[in-house]
Amino acid sequence: MTGKYENKNLKPGSFPYIWERISHNTGAMVGIAVICLIIVLSIFSPYILKHNYSTINLSNAGALPSLDHPFGCDEVGRDILARVLYGARYTLSIGLLSTLFASVVGIFLGSVAGYFGGVVDMFLMRFLDIFQAFPQLLLAMTLVAIFGTGLDKCILALGISNIPGYARMTRANVLNIRSNEYIEAAVSIKCSTWRIITKHVVPNAFSPLIIAMAMGIANSGLAASALSFVGLGIQPPKPEWGAMLASARNYIRAYPHTVIFPGSFIMLTVLSFNLIGDALRDAMDPKLRD
């Protein structure tokens, strides 16, 4: 395995090296292609599709897949293909934004706790322990109960429930890095604490976090559709995949095909992000491999 990558003289851990390894990973390339395709189709779906995602046409209610409607129509005759593609906006944006929010806050808290140690560390970690006493999805549900439903609140709820994981992970990495000689060297030349954390500690603690973030996008998207499915996330008639399944579920006996497509898209998206995450792990941190 190693010989293939050595002859290009790439430094392990550098971006070209990681890209070189990922581009040889079929699963990851399929994952990246699927995600890009979904993003592009979702952005341009209103312009390239014949049907609008919200146009109700009762004469088409429950129509089976046909040339005109490749995925068929839902219980009030809306084109499912248009709805599924438009709905990708919700799942992807919730996944990306909540992961971004959680990781920024989590990395900040974790690096502060890990770098300063002592009372700060204890206080922060015990505070996060309280959040971790609740299973993640339940914490998100409780936060939804407090904030209410909707896109922004869903992002916030899922983001907050993910913070402790990132903080804990960052802290563990920072603790490892802090004992290295290059940190001591930086301190000895009077490098400011802020600069040490942002320039020396966090970048070196980053690779496991990147992997966790790739998986995190998938999990948050999954959690968002689960919340929407039980009516605690995005509300129908918005075409979020979980919300679509929730309304299709009432007609599952009459129109089973309406249940199949939104769910398969959730699975496809989650699968793609997981494949990318797996490949990142293989490329960045050989020790973490299965």
Binding site: R126, A133, F134, L137, A140, T142, L222, G231, P256, M267
Partner: protein
């Protein structure tokens, strides 16, 4: 050993108390007057009715007083207050639903362990064959499939098309088959992958070769010697899966209309019945913490190195 258990319990108690404070405080900042929710949204009421209801619910007292009495109720009497909308005691409601959820969770855990571990072991033994690839592909899918969608698909196939199994309710064991499968799918996949990974690490060790050369049957080499050494990371992942599963079970219960804690939580959130939400979340958090404690204790029984840490040097010295 006792020292370790005590230490864990001592850490757990303040966390649970803080968790109760956190939930109570968060719920306190929810916009909207609880008295209006208790009176019902469409009912006609006067100012005096609202004031009377506020007094009845204890809302006219300052926050600290309410928090103290809530904590006292929860930790001394396991009393979570009364539901706004149902008017009944939350504790009775929870106690009524708890066994159903525990039963469903146990079914899921059993499925996860009984299917996940053998699949992982088999994949590791047959590493890089077609069988291994196939089972790893299936577990990858199992990891990604949304449990609620799997539940819908299973209902579509087994209840609506074939008519073999019921699609909602919780009257007999038969009603739990589909919920358990859909709740366990993700966990089975996770455990199978973890088992395969840690078995692969162990399987080439010298002691496994030694066991084989001793003439032990392949079965006892794999399950007796290799698996017991590969078990520690598997336990860690099981603990994590369990926490994740409790959230998933809430959704599964809602789909199959199983009268458990999860469906109660979801309906309470929709009714904005905050004492029920609060009570239910705390109840689940307590249960999960206790289960986590038990998984941690399991380490001690499985891993002798871990036990040695706490037994201390004194005892070891005395046996010499």
């Amino acid at each position: 050993m006792i020292k370790y258990i005590l230490k864990r319990l001592l850490i757990m108690v303040p966390i649970l108390i803080s968790a109760a404070i956190l939930i109570f405080s968060l719920m306190n900042f929810v916009p909207g007057d609880p008295a209006l929710i208790a009176l019902g949204e469409n009912a006609s009421y006067t100012e005096a009715d609202v004031a009377a209801m506020q007094a009845h619910l204890g809302l006219d007292q300052p926050f600290i007083v309410r928090l103290a009495s809530y904590l006292k109720g929860v930790f001394l009497h396991l009393d979570f207050g009364n539901s706004y909308t149902r008017g009944t005691s939350v504790r009775l409601e929870l106690a009524d639903r708890f066994p159903t959820t525990v039963f469903l969770a146990c079914c899921c855990v059993l499925l996860i362990l009984l299917v996940g571990i053998p699949v992982g072991v088999r994949a590791a033994v047959k590493a890089n064959t077609f069988e291994d690839r196939l089972s790893m592909f299936l577990t990858l899918l199992g990891n990604c499939i949304p449990s609620f969608w799997l539940a819908l698909m299973l209902t579509l196939l087994f209840s609506l098309t074939l008519g073999w199994l019921p699609s909602s309710g919780a009257k007999s064991l038969k009603y739990f088959i589909l919920p358990a499968i859909s709740g366990a799918a993700g966990g089975i996949a996770g455990i199978a992958r973890q088992t395969r990974a840690s078995m692969l690490e162990v399987i080439r060790s010298d002691f496994v070769t030694a066991a084989r050369s001793k003439g032990l049957s392949e079965r006892s080499v794999i399950y007796g010697h290799a698996l017991s050494n590969a078990l520690i990371p598997i336990i860690t992942v099981s603990g994590q899966q369990l926490g994740r599963m409790m959230g998933g079970i809430a959704i599964i219960e809602t789909i199959f209309s199983i009268p458990g804690l999860g469906s109660f939580l979801v309906s309470s959130i929709k009714l904005r019945d905050y004492p029920s939400v609060q009570g239910c979340v705390l109840y689940i958090a307590f249960t999960v913490s206790i289960i986590m404690l038990l998984t941690d204790l399991l380490y001690a029984f499985v891993d002798p190195r871990f036990k040695a840490q706490y037994v201390g040097t004194k005892k070891r010295g005395s046996t010499k």
